[in-house]
Each structure stands twice: as C-alpha cells, then as structure tokens.
Symmetry: C2
Subunit: 332 residues, 2 copies
C-alpha cells in the first residue's frame, strides 16, 4: 500500500520552471516524473522567485539532510558501525578486556542482526573509547584509509559509491538555487567530515552530528594538536537533532529530509517555522535495487515519523517508484 | 615603543592589486597606508591568485575573528556583561537569593572595576542561570530589545555602533575574495547571533562561541521549542577556541584575528597549518579615539599573545597609527 502526502503551501506560482538554474533542462533527471518530483521543483520555484508570496531571502535558505538512509545506504549496518567493527577487531589484541565488555563484545561477535541493533549511542561510545588519544587529523586519515579498502557486503562497492544519485541531484539543485545544504546526522562528525565534501559537496563546517570531546594540546613546541578524548560531547538523534541545529546553525531549516523516526523532531521543527516549508522522508521500498524496510527495522525504523508524515504535509518519497536510478554507478 | 612583526610567506606576487574585487579602488579605505595594510592586501592577493605558490582553494579560505576587542569595543565592560548586569538588576526582585550569591552579587554591585574582572566563565554561568527556561527565540528578542535601548557609558551610542570600521572593511574584503568569515568568540553564541548578520554580515551558522545547553520540547501540539537549560555546554576561550573551531568548523583557518591572550591558541593553531597563513592581533593603543590597554588590563589582556606575536609571524595592528577611523559614525 502506497501512502503519500505532499508539501502544503499552495499551488506553484511558476509551474515547473524550477528557477533560473535549469531553465532549459531537468534539474532532477534521476527522479521519475510524478508528484514527488513536482512538489520539490514547485517548492524551489516558489521560494526562490522574488515577488512570490513564498519567497525566502537567500540567507534563510537552510536545508538539512539526515545522512544514513537519506543520502546513502544504511543497510545491513550503518557504515560507521561497519568501520567500528573493523577497528575493534584490529585493536582487540591490545585490548583483551574488550572481549567481555559491552558494547565492545557485541562489536566483536560479527552477528549482523545483533550489530544492527547497536544504537548511535553505543556506537559513539565505542568510537570515542577506541580512538581516545588520537589527533583529529590522525582519525581522519584512518577513516579515509578504511573507506579506500572496505567494501559493502552485498554490492561489493566502496561505501561512498552507495550514495543516492537522486539525492545528489537534489543537493546540487538546491545549492544552484542558493540554498545552503547541511548534514544533520546521528552519526559522528569525525566520521563524515573527511569525505562529505568530495562525495556530497558539503563542507565540514556544514556537517552537524554527534561528536566526542576534543582537547587542545601542544606536545611539541609550535605543533599543536586537537586530541580526541574518551568522552561523548553530544548525541544528535531525535530531539538531539534539533538541539544540534540550534547549536551549530542557529537558524531554522526551510527544508529538511530524513528517512526514519530519528528524524521526526527535525521535521517537526522545520514544519513549525513560518512561511513556506518542505519536509521529506525517503521511504525504502526497493528490495531489488536497494533495501525495503520501515516499521519493524532495527536500522532506520520508520514508524512514528511515517504516521506524522501522513497526518502532516510531508513528502514521502517512494524509492522504487520515484527514483529512476538509485546509485551513481547505474548511470555508467 | 611600537613593536610589530609581519606575516611571513614570501613577497606578494601581485603587489598591491588585492585581487579582482577592488581592482580599481582601495579595499581598505579606513586603513592608513603602511606595512599593516600592505601585509593584508599582499596576503589576499597571494592566496587568491590561481597559479600563485600560496594559492588557497576557495573551500579552504576560512577566516576566524574574535569578537570582543577585535570587531567591537570591549571596554569598560564586555557588552554581554553590561547586558547581564542589566538583566540581573531587572530580575533580582524575583530572585532575592542573588543578592548574596556569587557571581550574581558581583553583577549587582555596579562596581566597574570588579565587574571588569568577571570572566567569560562567570558571565556564562549567570547567563544560563538567569535565562534558564526561556526559549531561544525569546532570548533573541530580549537581546535585541536591550541593544535597541542600551547605550555605551562613554560614547552614548548603541553598542552595535561601536564596531570597528577597518575590521568591517576587512571582513567584506575577505568575503569578496571568497573567504568564509567566522566569529570565534569567548562570548555566548546566543548573545551574538541575533545581530551578527546585520552588523557584520556574518550569519548565525558562522558564529562560534560559548554556549548553554538547550533542550527540545513540545509544550503544545505542533509548537516545538528549544529551551535554554541552566547548564553551560562549553566555553570558547584559550584552548576552547581551537576546540570550538574543531567542533563547529572542522577545518583549520588560514587567517585568524584576535586581540588578547584568549586568542593565543587560535593564532597558534592557525599558524601551525601548512601553506600561507595570516595571524593578526588588534593592539588597543588609542586612548583618545577608543581605549589604550594591553599587558595589565583585566579586560582583553594582551600579554603572552603579544610576546608570541613578536616571536612569530603575527601582524600587530596599532589602532592609533594604522586606523584612519575607528567607528563607522566617524565617516558621516
């Protein structure tokens, strides 16, 4: 059963023109024609046409995107969990106590169904504990080195190839229309920032997420470092997403996209602003090309946020029907 | 005795052209001709000329500025301390316990010399305690209402008129050359963000600073709020400035400007990056047009950071000699 509701705020004033940037072409070629694509193009046209009732001044064009399951594949494990499992395995000889201590023990089991249920909180705990003492530069290097060799168990691709082509187009389309695109993720900023600019075109200062505490130190003269401490500074999921937006952006988004219950508060917060608003949820409906899951999934559960989406004006994207391709490599 | 040293990194490759933005004019008309101005113009030319040895790609053009004493006047009291003193006075009838409890008691004394010694930490404590329970929107309104009526004790001007014209020009000059300008301040983000965009052209998401904890709540259906809690999330002074840069920007500045010992670590961190770097300190040398203070000042003490500036390649701006005007209203 397909359920869908759409952005509110009146009829598009400019039809399908989609603003100046793609006056001649299709800004979202990997989206199938239909109401989902149309609602996005209409929203951008309405909010960026000076004189339109829904025009949004450029500095207020803030768009926030969840990462896992919204911009890239989060099954069968959050990518940062796959990273952490590999890290814990490679470090356990030096930390034998991890074999019996949770959540490290769980990370070592290799049991995907159990690992899948490891929350962002447990993940962050392992992340900070296993990387305490490293400098932020060292950690970035470790993340990039891992991404260079790690492969997704089903697609056998680098994880950064498993980003959603339609969402890359949406990010670029918004930026071409002078929206500032942010990631607001339950995952740790330290894991996303090293590659988010290359992969999504989103610079580190626009990546908001969970974070560990860091400490400034000067171990050798004139060579200061920022060192990771074994302490979580904040989580960034559920209500924490809005708190993260307040702390790091300080302005309410006019557009927000998520895919799970962890994004519900961000969508609520976005919806409650005045003027035109766009809220979207990616619904994973394509078991053939990607994965199909929602209400009962331990990863990316979409349940309450879906009910809210139906009740309110939130676009629910049906990946199977709305997306012509899922991954960039399908275009080759 | 004037002490000054200059940015390192070789001779300017384009002389005084200063990049494309002001090819025909002077990008810094309120700066007197001389080595300080020249070093800035040379740095911008070198880092923005494609093919130059010191060229910096646009996404890496991060410039961070302290606020108090670097962008606006911090004497005889940090502006946020003047705000907090007024707030505590207006609220003390409802909080009689403040009359005897530090640091509230101190705030109520009206003794400027004692108030001046109140650190950013004490300030933030009062700030969060006296404003706990307010929503972030309510607090912004209170700040703007106060700024509309409060006047500086000496200049009798609104505080937001007491920003430094030469620094406004520098911010605009950097932005015209595709630098992204950030505030990295010991003061609280909640106090700066409501007006930083109008006054400095710096949007809220580029204002980094101390902050209180906020909590997301939904007191009435579909009307979520972010509420301020009576808890400090982090300070942003000394080493905290670098930690704040790591947390909020995630990329090392190529240019940083401060005016006091609280900025030393930010300058060190900036200096330790590879490639061309620019570090600057505003030295308050003009008792007639503004204030003159450095090594022994309880507010904006410039002592260790000055020694470091002399030892290293950091521009020390002499306000009296280097600035043609101090405040924008002098131009009228």
């Amino acid at each position: 059963m397909r359920r869908r509701s759409f952005v509110s705020g009146g009829v598009a004033m400019l039809g399908t023109s989609g603003g100046a940037a793609w006056a001649q072409g299709d800004p979202l070629p990997s989206w199938n024609a239909g109401p989902a694509k149309q609602s996005i193009v209409d929203f951008v046209a309405r909010t960026t046409t000076f004189g339109s009732r829904d025009w949004v001044p450029v500095p207020e064009r803030i768009a926030t995107f969840d990462n896992d399951g919204t911009l890239w594949t989060e099954q069968p494990l959050y990518v940062q969990n796959a990273f952490i499992v590999d890290r814990v395995r490679s470090m356990v000889a030096r930390h034998p106590e991890w074999r019996t201590r949770e959540p490290f023990r769980l990370a070592l089991t290799g049991d995907h169904s159990q690992l899948a249920s490891m929350g962002e909180k447990e993940l962050l705990e392992i992340m900070v504990a296993s990387h305490a003492g490293l400098t932020t530069d060292e950690f970035s290097r470790i993340v990039l080195d891992w991404l260079a060799v790690a492969r997704h168990p089903r697609f056998k691709s680098p994880y950064t190839d498993l980003v959603y082509q339609p969402m890359l187009e949406l990010l670029a389309y918004l930026r071409a229309n002078q929206f500032k695109t942010f990631i607001v993720s339950g995952g740790p900023i330290e894991f996303m920032r090293p590659w988010a600019e290359r992969v999504y075109g989103i610079p580190p200062e626009q990546v908001v997420g969970a974070a560990g505490v860091t400490k400034y130190a000067m171990p050798t003269p004139d060579r200061p470092v920022l060192r990771m401490e074994a302490q979580v500074a904040f989580n960034d999921i559920f209500a924490g997403k809005v708190e993260g937006i307040g702390r790091s952006i300080g302005r309410r988004p006019v557009l927000a996209f998520g895919n799970s219950d962890g994004d519900q508060q961000m969508l609520e917060w976005t919806a409650a602003g005045s003027g035109a608003r766009f809220m979207g949820l990616v619904h994973h409906t394509d078991a053939v090309r990607e994965y199909a899951y929602d209400r009962n999934s331990p990863i990316g559960q979409l349940d309450k946020a879906w009910d809210e989406a139906i009740r309110r004006s939130c676009l629910v994207v049906d990946m199977k029907h709305d997306w012509k391709v899922i991954y960039p490599f399908e275009l080759k």
